[in-house]
């Protein structure tokens, strides 16, 4: 089952009245959405406000989600429209980022994002997180580091990773899981999460 199918299953549950299923989608996509919005709105608090409004709009519009497009693509459109409306209402000028750049969030020059959108606190937190992640990845055994890097940075499928690492797919699955656990363990103290119940 692809990521898109899984998202669709969660949307279906949310449409059946399960708000917690929608929460899982928010957990998954809110940082990605905020990164997108950060290219349009410079202030971090405003970015969070617009992100929240985007998710609430998306929740209200769930009955209109047909599932033809990926959930994130649909969410992305709502986010961009919400940000544009916000900027229009504030009579602010958007940063000079082309529509093409906004359509491909991986191609945007990260320097634009880093200029002045973050508060000192959020910048410190981001720095701490980045350091912790780097340290955690460095400390991983080689086979775990290779597996998580191929998956997260190169975007390879488990099957492709298995072929490259000459091991069964189940081993790849296990290595990626263990790598994530190790990195998450380093991040929890910084972010104040416990890894236990969130509900």
């Amino acid at each position: 089952m692809s990521e898109q199918d899984i998202d669709r299953q969660l949307v279906e549950r949310a449409r059946n009245g399960d708000k917690r299923a929608f929460d899982l989608l928010v957990q998954k996509y809110h940082r990605r959405l905020m990164r997108l919005l950060s290219r349009m709105v410079r202030n971090q608090e405003e970015v969070e406000d617009i992100a929240q409004e985007t998710f609430i709009k998306a929740y209200r519009a769930l009955p209109q989600f047909r599932g033809d497009a990926a959930f994130y693509t649909w969410l992305y459109r709502i986010g961009v429209n919400t940000a544009r409306n916000y900027l229009s209402s504030r009579k602010r000028q958007m940063p000079t980022i082309s529509d093409q750049a906004m359509n491909d969030d991986d191609d945007v020059d990260e320097r634009i994002v880093a200029q002045d959108i973050n508060t000192p606190e959020s910048m410190l937190l981001s720095k701490q997180v980045a350091m912790a992640v780097n340290e955690a990845v460095e400390a991983l055994p080689e086979e775990l580091r290779t597996a998580i890097t191929l998956r997260e940075m190169e975007g390879l499928s488990y099957e492709e990773i298995a072929e490259m690492m000459v091991c069964p797919i189940g081993t790849v699955r296990s290595r990626i899981f263990r790598a994530r656990e190790a990195i998450a363990a380093k991040l929890r103290p910084i972010l104040g999460t416990t890894g236990d119940t969130r509900w």
Binding site: V133, Y158, I169
Partner: protein, 181 residues
């Protein structure tokens, strides 16, 4: 050579490992449904979903707004009326190869029927049926002929041929009428 296709079944109590694969879209339908069925009641699975999403984002340099944002969003979502709009079942679209297979089957059936069926002459059959019907008219009480086709065959004896030898296919005219007919 180690088979990369080999499926290693993890014990399902390792729910966290399954959540990790679920996030990557790397479970088959049955496995994914099994893991999804644990959401959102299984708190550990939900926590791992959040953790691994964060790890993925952090590896890409995005870790801002994690805790505070979610707390604020949940409060806002609580105030929203619950959406109740089940998705309509998707219409099953037959795969293109099914259309090809169906067309091929239709051609095969048509060809088989066409080649297996005897040559058909509709007008002859109609005339024969009318002839039989006409010849079958007899007074009440009259005995029906032993073979109901006899009158028809007698009327068409001029068209009746018999193959008398092979392979030369010499045909000879024969008469179906007996001496007493």
């Amino acid at each position: 050579m180690v088979s990369t296709k080999q499926t290693q079944t993890m014990p399902f109590q390792d729910a966290e490992a399954w959540v990790s694969a679920l996030l990557d879209g790397e479970l088959d339908d049955a496995e994914a449904k099994r893991v999804l069925s644990r959401f959102p009641d299984d708190a550990a699975a939900v926590a791992r979903w959040a953790d691994y999403s964060l790890v993925s984002d952090a590896l890409h340099g995005d870790a801002a707004g994690t805790g505070a944002f979610m707390a604020r969003f949940r409060a806002a979502l609580e105030d929203e009326p619950t959406v109740l709009a089940p998705m309509p079942a998707r219409k099953l679209q037959p795969a293109p190869y099914l259309w090809t297979a169906a067309a091929a089957a239709m051609v095969a059936i048509t060809w088989t029927v066409w080649t297996a069926a005897p040559p058909d002459n509709g007008s002859e059959r109609m005339a024969a049926a009318q002839m039989v019907a006409a010849n079958d008219i007899r007074p009440v009480g009259a005995q029906a002929p032993a073979n109901p086709l006899e009158p028809y065959l007698a009327a068409h004896q001029d068209y009746a041929y018999a193959v008398v030898s092979m392979p030369e296919m010499v045909v000879e005219k024969v008469s179906l009428a007996g001496p007493n007919r």
